[in-house]
């Protein structure tokens, strides 16, 4: 079942095409990453899904509904522009936001206590929001988003401003939510996070979809494999071998990219007799590399036009 369906959606602000004919859909229970550099159109896309910005053209259906108002209690949204009532106490803010999602007094309080404990904020329960650090406020927002047990979770840059420990904590929570069956969309420009969390990704730049699919699809489609070898012995093979496209030396090891159509296995075979290998590893390209390559490629294309 498709939870989110976005068809040919475009949005223009003045002369700027913020989102240009983007389509994608998300299956129930999947984690979907919207990736892209700053200003690529990630937040605009998400705001259109949330019906905060009305698209100029195209169609968006959430859980089969085009009118979000009917189902907004099933959606948890962490906006990029986020803040809380500074003068309110932590517990009161959460109760209020819970009530807005239709949670009721006692059960809401149980949930709040559970989450405050889980995210190590219990001792701040009676404090005013303004007394909390930025990171703590961020965690508070995440609690408010996840606490009502939404079926669809939309997180715009959820790791922004978090230290590595808290980032990990949020990643764990996202994975737990996934296990619960929640469909999750999040936007980020942190590629490692996306690589580890997402079932599917979409990379956008300048309002356009550049690539999309499962992480492994994207990798096999857009990145070539490369090989890392740590060795002792004569390194002349690097220039002699017919199947090596190019290489980079890193002191302790070299990184090799093979010519198209060649198998790492055959390289290994040819090397065994020539050098002493301490490590031979076939590396998948990281999303980070694909991201940089694609975005730069786009930009060069743009310059050529």
């Amino acid at each position: 079942m498709k939870i989110v369906e976005v068809k040919n959606v475009s949005k223009q602000f003045g002369k700027l095409k913020a989102v240009n004919d983007i389509s994608f859909s998300i299956e129930k229970g999947k984690v979907y990453g919207v990736l892209g550099p700053n200003g690529a159109g990630k937040t605009t896309t998400i705001r259109m899904i949330m019906n905060i910005i009305i698209p100029d053209s195209g169609e968006i259906n959430i859980m089969g509904e085009s009118n979000l108002k009917k189902i907004n209690h099933k959606i948890g949204y962490l906006p990029e522009e986020r803040g809380l009532y500074r003068k309110m106490k932590v517990n009161d803010v959460l109760l209020f936001l819970g009530e807005l999602k239709g949670m009721k007094g006692k059960s809401a309080q149980t949930e709040i206590d559970f989450w405050l404990d889980k995210l190590e904020l219990t001792e701040w329960k009676k404090k005013k929001v303004e007394e909390l650090s930025k990171g703590m406020q961020q965690k508070l927002q995440i609690i408010a988003t996840i606490m009502p047990k939404p079926e669809l979770l939309i997180l715009d840059e959820p790791f922004l401003g978090l230290d590595p420990i808290n980032t990990q904590m949020i990643k764990d929570i996202i994975m737990e939510e996934k296990k619960r069956g929640t469909t999750i969309i999040f936007s980020t420009h942190q590629m490692e996070s996306a690589e580890r969390l997402c079932d599917e990704i979409m990379l956008i730049n300048k309002g356009q979809k550049i690539l999309s699919g499962t992480v492994s699809d994207v990798k096999s489609q857009f990145g070539s494999k490369y090989i890392q070898i740590a060795f002792t012995g004569d390194n002349s093979f690097l220039n002699e071998s017919q199947i090596i496209d190019h290489y980079t030396e890193f002191g302790n090891y070299v990184e090799i990219e093979l010519k198209a159509g060649n198998d790492p296995q055959s390289l290994l075979e040819s090397l065994v007799s020539k050098i002493k290998i301490s490590r031979f590893e076939v590396m998948e390209p990281s999303l980070h590399d694909i991201f940089i390559n694609s975005v730069q490629g786009e930009d060069e294309l743009g310059r050529m036009e």
Partner: protein
């Protein structure tokens, strides 16, 4: 009202009512009003004058005795208010004596001296020399005493019996009782106290409409500037949020009004006892307080017109809040609207004096003026309802409906707009979205 709107109402109400500022303010407000209202008298009682040494140069030689008998008041502690002494000129000239006495006044040996010229009967001018010549009450009382004495002398010179004339005049003094003729019968009413009540209530009304309207602006701007809006809007429709805000803040106002109404009621019931005990001797004030007639019906209309005023101005203020990013930016739009509200207060002054004229009726039907002006007419004519009272409730209700519809549209677009503040023209375009 749905549960989400109710949650907003609850939040807006509780976060405000629970603050120390609100509790102190609400309790302090009646005290401030009491000080404004009876302050002059209470302070008058607190700051008792001290006994004064005054010398009189009586060049006629026949006024000193009578004057000091008339001015024989005592202070609270039983000591005389004035310690009189007569200065005999003897051989000294008046000019020299005045220099001498002025020096004594300056060195605080004396508080004042009075020169009664020998031709006083004709000239009718007496000079009062003192360090402090701003004790209006004291000077007024001296003038009265001198006038009595001089007119008595003049009457006697013409052969009229002064005492007899005076007592006749005193007996001939008349009181004008004001009685309002109404369909419910004739009602005795003190026009001064009625005007004071109308004035006071209208002042509170205007003040509350203004300050609670501004509270709406602040509340909207807070959500905008703290970037809370998107979080909230993902759960609730903008119009529900706006209505929840308007209702919640309104309830704070009504809570505060109930406290103040209770105070005014208590003051009109027990005020004179209280002031008597405090030792205020101002019979006029006590009369006014005694005849304040703050009825539950009047209070009901007060609440109705507070609601109207608050909703009209609060809705406009909400739209302004949604248009701007900071309170400073909002000021530029707020000022003209607040002037409109103040204007209704000034219009009220003339309307309250002539509440039953055609002009008063028309002015009170202008929606922006209706709350204060129509209420002023109701209060001034109480217990009779002025013409157009029900019509005004109907027209204002209709106006409000249209206004809220328009404001909701501006609000919906505005709260999600960041960056440059729009011109009024652009904001009005949002209505079409």
């Amino acid at each position: 009202m749905n549960i989400k709107t109710l949650a907003v109402v609850k939040r807006e109400f509780l976060t405000r009512v629970k603050t120390k500022g609100f509790i102190i303010g609400t309790l302090l407000l009646p005290v401030i009003f009491a000080l404004l209202f009876g302050g002059v008298f209470i302070f008058g009682a607190l700051f008792q004058p001290k006994g004064q040494d005054i010398t009189i140069i009586d060049q006629t030689g026949r006024i000193y005795g009578e004057f000091t008998t008339l001015q024989n008041g005592t202070l609270k502690n039983g000591e005389p208010r004035f310690r009189w002494s007569e200065f005999e000129l003897g051989d000294a000239t008046l000019e020299d004596t005045k220099v001498e006495l002025s020096a004594k006044v300056l060195s605080k040996e004396l508080d004042a001296y009075i020169v009664i010229p020998s031709d006083i009967i004709e000239s009718k001018v007496i000079a009062f020399f003192a360090r402090n010549v701003s004790d209006m009450e004291g000077i007024h009382s001296f003038r009265r005493s001198f006038s009595t004495i001089i007119s008595n002398i003049r009457l006697a010179e013409k052969g009229y019996p002064a005492d007899e004339i005076r007592s006749e005049m005193a007996q001939g003094r008349v009181n004008l009782e004001t009685i309002q003729v109404t369909e419910k019968g004739d009602i005795g009413k003190n026009s001064v106290s009625n005007f004071i009540l109308t004035y006071l209530l209208c002042y509170i009304l205007m003040l509350f409409i203004m300050s609670y309207g501004q509270m709406v602006t602040r509340s909207v701007i807070e959500e905008k500037s703290q970037r809370i809006t998107e979080t909230i809007i993902s759960s609730i429709k903008p119009i529900e949020l706006m209505m929840g805000k308007l209702i919640g803040i309104c309830m704070v106002g009504i809570t505060q009004l109930l406290v103040i109404a209770g105070f005014i009621l208590a003051f009109s019931l027990y005020g004179d006892d209280l002031l008597m005990k405090a030792g205020v001797e101002a019979p006029k004030l006590l009369d006014i307080i005694r005849s304040i007639n703050f009825t539950p019906v009047l209070f009901f209309y007060f609440i109705v017109f507070f609601l109207f005023g608050y909703l009209i101005y609060g809705a406009i203020f909400a739209a302004i809040g949604a248009m701007v990013n900071t309170e400073d930016e909002g000021q530029q739009f707020l000022t003209p609207v607040m002037m409109l509200n103040m204007l209704s207060f000034f219009v009220m002054f003339s309307v309250a004096k002539n509440p039953d004229t055609t002009a008063a009726l028309w002015v009170s039907l202008i929606p922006f003026f209706t709350p204060v002006v129509m209420f002023a007419r109701i209060s001034a004519l109480d217990p009779v309802l002025p013409s157009g009272a029900f019509i005004s409730i109907f027209t204002t209700g209709l106006f409000l409906y249209g206004l809220l519809w328009m404001v909701a549209k501006i609000y919906r677009v505005g709260i999600l707009m960041y960056g440059k503040k729009p011109s009024l023209k652009e904001a009005l375009k949002w209505i079409k979205y």
